[in-house]
Amino acid sequence: MLDVKTTEDQEIMRQLSARENEALAPQQSLAVFFWRRFRKHRMAMVGLVVMAIILLLIVAAPITARYDPNKQNLRNRFAPPSWEHWMGTDQLGRDFWARVIYGGRVSLAVGLLTMLVSTLIGSTVGLLAGFYGGMVDAILMRITDVFLSLPTLFVLLLVTTLLRASRSPVFQPGSFWPIAFIIGALSWMNVARLVRASTLELRERDFVAASRALGVSDFRLLFQHILPNVASPVIVAATLRFAGAIITESGLSFLGMGVQPPTPTWGNLLSNAQTDMINAPWIAIFPGLMIFITVISVNYIGDGLRDALDPRHVMERA
């Protein structure tokens, strides 16, 4: 996270002036307009295609996996990649391709849920702080400061270990949503600051005064009138958060503290790899490769979205 204030302010200023330009374009062609701009970003398009393929493989896992991911075959342990087993087999003779494909389901689900949680918390905090100002703003921003001072990885490791030590029912093998909620609850601060800064400026605009005069409730004003106007930076931030969440989850699972086996995720497939990689390097290579390909694709998509949603942003990789 590069949080130097001046660049952030510039970014926000850019986003703000961008929005004024957008307002001039006819409404119905907005999506087409953005798509045309997005298409110019070559790597973002490649990322989009790669992500589509990965999603297809994962959604259609029962067909594409070819084997049952939990079926053991102890006579065929550590088989190297071959035509029968595209990614070899693991220490229990399970087909590794099937485990990677099914693992992707959990990894992407965690990423998606984390993104939703952090964007929801961040947008709400940012909207409330920016809109109401004064005490509300001061309190919410102090809370944000506290969260920003938390050593995220250390706290994540602590919370997941404590949950596991307590044998809490929410932390059973196979349940991935606690992890997603915990990561999300620790990573909403940037969105909050982004949304707050935009809201601060938006609330002074005429359309807000007009809505007020018409007697629109604060709730509707915030979520129906102001939120759509801060959407561009939030969409970009959320996309990058999705990529970040996949890395965080896999890191946590790699340390043995994320989603628990036998449910495979790209991260926990790697956590066995350390002991097995001398005999079976493919076990260490493939799950990480999937994480890498997914994350780089999503990051490029985020880059393309930034270019597309912000007309003043220089198109560097045109």
Binding site: S149, L150, A165, S250, Q274, P281, D303
Partner: protein, 317 residues
């Protein structure tokens, strides 16, 4: 400025107090109690557990225990580790130099890579070098650092056998500098290459921003050599944001060490924290969490002060 620093220091102390309360509450909130890890041990009778609870004062309410802990901290006493029965400070003293060595060398390598390559990339914008560098840095920022570590071990330790893949020294050999450096190469590569990717991108865009300023044109107009223009006039200003970024990143080096030290069996603070978390060794956990939190709070302050010091246009009041 002095007043500003004093106010910020005061705020930092309050922030750390709030953080310590959060950490304490988190650690104390284990539903099964802090000794639940021990209750799995079949040799532990309920009486033993009760005796342990009494010994560590775990039967007191959380508030009382937090108060006691604060008083201890105020006296500079971090308590005794549950598991090793050694003072927490001794545990940390044994491990801290190892982590500082690893992170210090990594940071040095990162900067030595990122600054020159970032400058080159900016000066030769859109060249082949710039395009390759930009793509590689983007890839580097998407790389899961722990996977990169595993790949390094597979290639350079398992397959090629060039370098050791774990520990700080070869077992049973007397200390030698060459041996230590050989053990440092892979973990440092893992940390430094991934960090360098981010810094290089940053260096490039900071440099690009500066190069287009009027005073650079002035420097060129008065006949300065291109080398002087870049290294003297542009670099000095482009380094300002980078310096603050490094200050902000110092605590995250410790986070990265969590992975590096586990993968390479490096006996440092990251491993100490990991083991403490596994065993819910709460005096040790509290001490380590507070050290990292203090690092974050202080490095934020340091970054702001460096920024004001290096850029005279910025003043705080």
């Amino acid at each position: 400025m002095t007043q500003y620093i004093i106010r910020r220091l005061f705020q930092s102390v309050i922030l750390l107090l709030v953080l310590s309360a959060i950490f304490f509450a988190l650690i104390s909130s284990v539903p099964g109690g802090l000794l639940s890890a021990y209750s799995e041990n079949p040799d532990m009778t309920p009486e033993d557990l009760a005796r342990l609870r009494a010994k560590y004062g775990l039967d007191d309410p959380v508030i009382v225990r937090y108060g006691k802990w604060l008083m201890q901290m105020a006296r500079g006493d971090f308590g005794t580790s549950f598991t090793s029965k050694r003072p927490v400070l001794v545990e940390i003293r044994d491990r801290l130099p190892n982590t500082l060595l690893l992170t210090g060398v990594s940071l040095l390598v990162t900067l030595l890579l990122a600054i020159p390559l970032g400058i080159l990339s900016a000066v030769k914008q859109y060249s082949l070098f710039d395009q390759i560098a930009t793509t590689l840095t983007f890839a580097g920022q998407s790389l899961p650092v722990f996977w990169f570590g595993l790949l390094l071990i597979i290639i350079f330790h398992v397959k090629l056998g060039w370098l050791p893949g774990s520990g700080m020294a070869t077992l049973g050999q007397p200390f030698s500098l060459v041996d230590r450096i050989r053990h440092l190469v892979l973990p440092v590569t893992m940390l430094a290459l991934v960090m360098a990717a981010g810094y290089m991108r940053y260096m490039r865009s900071a440099m690009l921003e500066v190069i287009h300023q009027d005073y650079i044109r002035t420097a060129r107009a008065k006949g300065q050599s291109e080398r002087m223009v870049i290294l003297k006039h542009a670099l000095r200003n482009a380094l300002v944001p980078l310096v603050t970024l490094v200050a902000l990143d110092i605590p995250f080096l410790f986070g990265g060490a969590l992975f590096t030290e586990r993968i390479f069996a490096w006996p440092g603070m990251g491993r100490l924290y990991y083991d403490a978390a596994m065993k819910t060794d709460y005096p040790l956990l509290m001490a380590l969490l507070m050290i990292v939190a203090a690092l974050i709070v202080l490095s934020n302050l340091l970054a702001d002060m460096l920024y004001a010091y290096l850029d005279p246009r910025i003043t705080y009041s």
